[in-house]
Symmetry: C2
DNA sequence: GTAGAGGTTGACGCTACGTCAAGGTCAAGG
DNA sequence: CCTTGACCTTGACGTAGCGTCAACCTCTAC
């Protein structure tokens, strides 16, 4: 019962490189080392190796296996906590699969998630869950079907308009004028006008709290960096927010 | 629309280190680099970054993301093949979880999988599925309950006997005698005698194909390195097989 | 002038080995 | 004795995606 490194590797169904690695990290030392440096393994070593490989197949890490072999940890305990980890992983995978499916579906059905390209700046339909949470399911459904119903040409026009509005905001903010300046207030007017083009938003009709909606939106631009980014970051968004609030209080 | 590396990192919800990494591997270059080496990012860069992070959350690797961004691969196609991979992973995890559960159960109920320690050499109950496949469920159930019913002392005795038999085989094989020598044939007799002590094995009673069983077992010792290991590897197992075949033909 | 905040480029660390590379050892054969 | 070939050895790099120092600029503010 004395095998060379190749022999025991074949017997146990692994490679000599693996055995050298286990030797390096102290997981499994050869039972004997020849004067020429050759590694030799005996029966007990083979048993150890097989236990290692068994645990490895179950997904345990080498440090965890070492603990088990050194009696520092009960095998059952090690496997149990490993099982917890596996369950978590499975959960994560399940959720990730759902996300990928969802993404594929929406990209196939329409370029909703491609909105980063098409909608560019502000996209109420881009963040489905959040829109629903903030303004209700109806608002989302309305703007969603509205967007789906547009032709590619119309979408492009809309996109251009959004981009123009965004860049105007940024240049205005950077010009140093105050949010209550005529320029800023004119932009605020354009902004509200633009918003009114999106179905599902409150209107001036009875019961529609346009004022609260617009000011709330401004706060969100500042609070959410994804929106803030469209207006030149936090400082730009702050400018937009202030301008919108002033406009809302004076005109809505 | 011009952010420093920290700013855009915060906006996009990642770290500056990540952005530097993406720059290094060419996934996302800064839109501008200052005379001082500082990285600066603009709006389009932010959009790219957000797409990258979205795909990353879905689990795509950076090379795959790069392909998508470079229009080399359709996003839907990339996500679909990624989905396949995810499904495989989930499968693997599910099977692994089952294995771990099984192992924990058997280790709790009795040290069946600990058999590597206790049974040492030959353990028909160690490889449940294979035993069942080769010799039927009855054989497994019989030898299993038999083993469970033994006291620790009896188990130890059995273990010693197995080990003695194994080492005798090895030393005999290494001594250079032929498989039909008296010594080898005596060992074969002991081996068959030993086998007959395990419930579930064929007997000399009518209908029991002891001869076929013994020769088949010998073949398995050679074919399966896990068993071969108990007899000094493939060469040793070959010797055992030959001796057993000769013994079976002459005596069974 | 000097903090202090933020930027830069290395370079190591992590998981578990695969994969060369360069060079000894050993048994068999010319 | 020399060669061949199979097998052994010790490095050391590569892998995926950054985290985490380390050592050293740069710019603003007091």
């Amino acid at each position: 019962m004395d095998w060379s490194i190749q022999e025991i590797a074949k017997i146990a169904g692994t490679t000599s490189r693996t055995l050298r690695h286990y030797d390096d990290i102290g997981l499994l030392k050869p039972s004997r080392t020849g004067h020429n440096g050759y590694r030799h393994y005996d029966g007990p070593a083979l048993v150890q190796l097989q236990r290692i490989l068994l645990l490895r197949e179950l997904g345990l890490g080498l440090p965890a296996i070492a603990e088990v072999l050194n009696r520092e940890t009960d095998t059952v305990k090690a496997l149990s906590s490993h099982l917890d980890w596996l369950a978590q992983e499975q959960d994560r995978l399940t959720r990730q699969i759902a996300s990928v499916r969802q993404t594929i579906d929406t990209m196939k059905g329409d370029g909703k998630y491609m909105a980063q390209d098409m909608f560019d700046g502000f996209d109420h339909t881009q963040y489905k869950d959040e829109v629903e949470e903030r303004w209700g399911k109806d608002a989302y459904a309305a703007s969603d079907s509205w967007w789906r119903g547009m032709s590619a040409d119309e979408k492009q026009q809309w996109k251009d308009r959004v981009q123009k509005l965004g860049s105007d905001w940024i240049s205005t903010a950077e010009s140093g004028v105050s949010p209550d300046s005529d320029e800023a207030q004119d932009l605020a007017r354009r902004h509200v006008e633009w918003l009114s083009g999106i179905p599902g938003t409150p209107t001036a009709a009875p019961g529609g709290d346009v004022k609260g909606y617009v000011t709330g939106l401004g706060e969100m631009y500042v609070a959410d960096p994804r929106f803030a980014a469209n207006y030149g970051g936090e400082s730009g968004a702050t400018f937009v927010r202030d301008a919108l609030r002033i406009y809302a209080e004076q005109n809505l």
